[in-house]
């Protein structure tokens, strides 16, 4: 039987994380002129490592455990302060060009995950439609 939970692999969780990161980076850009604001970002590698341990591919029988609680952890414990290249005297550590680059990269990766899911759905549909 087809494991529907694991159909999209890491991309389902990646999409959530990318969405979360979009909000974090948007907050950084919004506060680019706020004195004392510290830029933050999500440490993608550490989140991914945590997610991979839970992937149903690693443990096919415990697929139902995936996706619990991790959603609330995404933005919380994995948020880290960014180290600025050039610190500003008003205590703000947002560097617009860095944030914009990260935002663009995040957007592309979001769309990549989206595309993987879309292709997976299409492949499944094609398989279902075949005689």
């Amino acid at each position: 039987m087809l494991p529907l939970d694991s159909l999209f692999g890491v991309h389902e969780r990646a999409l959530l994380l990318r969405g979360e990161r979009t909000a974090v980076l948007a907050a950084n850009l919004a506060n680019a002129d706020t004195p004392g604001y510290k830029a933050r970002d999500i440490n993608f590698a550490s989140v991914l490592a945590g997610e991979q341990a839970n992937l149903p591919m690693a443990a096919p029988n415990s697929g139902q455990a995936v996706g619990t609680a991790a959603g609330s952890e995404l933005g919380g414990s994995n948020l880290q302060y960014r180290v600025p290249y050039q610190a500003s005297t008003d205590g703000n550590t947002v560097e617009a060009q860095v944030e914009q680059a990260a935002f663009a990269e995040n957007t592309v990766r979001y769309q990549a995950s989206l595309m993987f899911i879309t292709r997976q759905v299409q492949a499944l549909e094609a398989a279902l439609a075949s005689p």
């Binding site: 999409l15 969405g19 979360e20 979009t22 909000a23 974090v24 980076l25 948007a26 907050a27 850009l29 919004a30 506060n31 680019a32 002129d33 706020t34 004195p35 004392g36 604001y37 933050r40 609330s72 933005g75 919380g76 948020l79 617009a96 914009q100 935002f103 957007t107 979001y110 769309q111 989206l114 899911i117 879309t118 759905v121 299409q122």
Partner: protein, 141 residues
């Protein structure tokens, strides 16, 4: 869905930056205004930005990602207004002096450009997030 928070965050930034543009416009418009007394002279105004939690989870601190910005206050510059000799001015005092505003046009122009760029950045963020959401809605098609 966190992508919806982006609209609140970017919207708050656009709001704050347009306020800053507004204040800058006011300062530049009054740069040459004069007064008879020092107290009556126009003083440059500047908005003070502060990080604010926005969106549905504004009350709880559990959603630190959605940090927008708001204008805490508009403060007046405490630089001394410029006193200059202009006896022809109807507002001149008995000695022929008027008090000009303490607006620094260079500072205001820099402020204007910074506000404009930040506003554009927020619009870009909002547009991108909207595209992502629309693409997500069309997922699987």
């Amino acid at each position: 869905m966190s992508l919806f928070n982006v609209f609140d965050v970017a919207g708050s930034a656009m709001n704050a930056q347009s306020m800053r543009l507004n204040v800058t416009a006011s300062n530049l418009a009054n740069a040459d205004a004069v007064s008879t007394t020092a107290a009556g002279a126009y003083r440059a105004r500047h908005p003070v930005f502060q990080t604010a939690m926005v969106g549905a989870n504004a009350a709880s601190a559990e959603e630190p990602a959605a940090a927008g910005v708001r204008v805490l206050d508009v403060v007046q510059s405490d630089t001394t207004p410029v006193r200059r000799h202009d006896p022809g001015n109807p507002l001149a005092d008995a000695e022929g002096y008027v008090w000009g505003s303490n607006v620094n046009p260079v500072e205001e122009m820099a402020n204007m450009i910074s506000a404009s760029r930040s506003y554009q950045g927020s619009v870009e963020v909002m547009t991108t997030s909207r595209d992502l959401l629309l693409k997500t809605l069309a997922m699987g098609r």
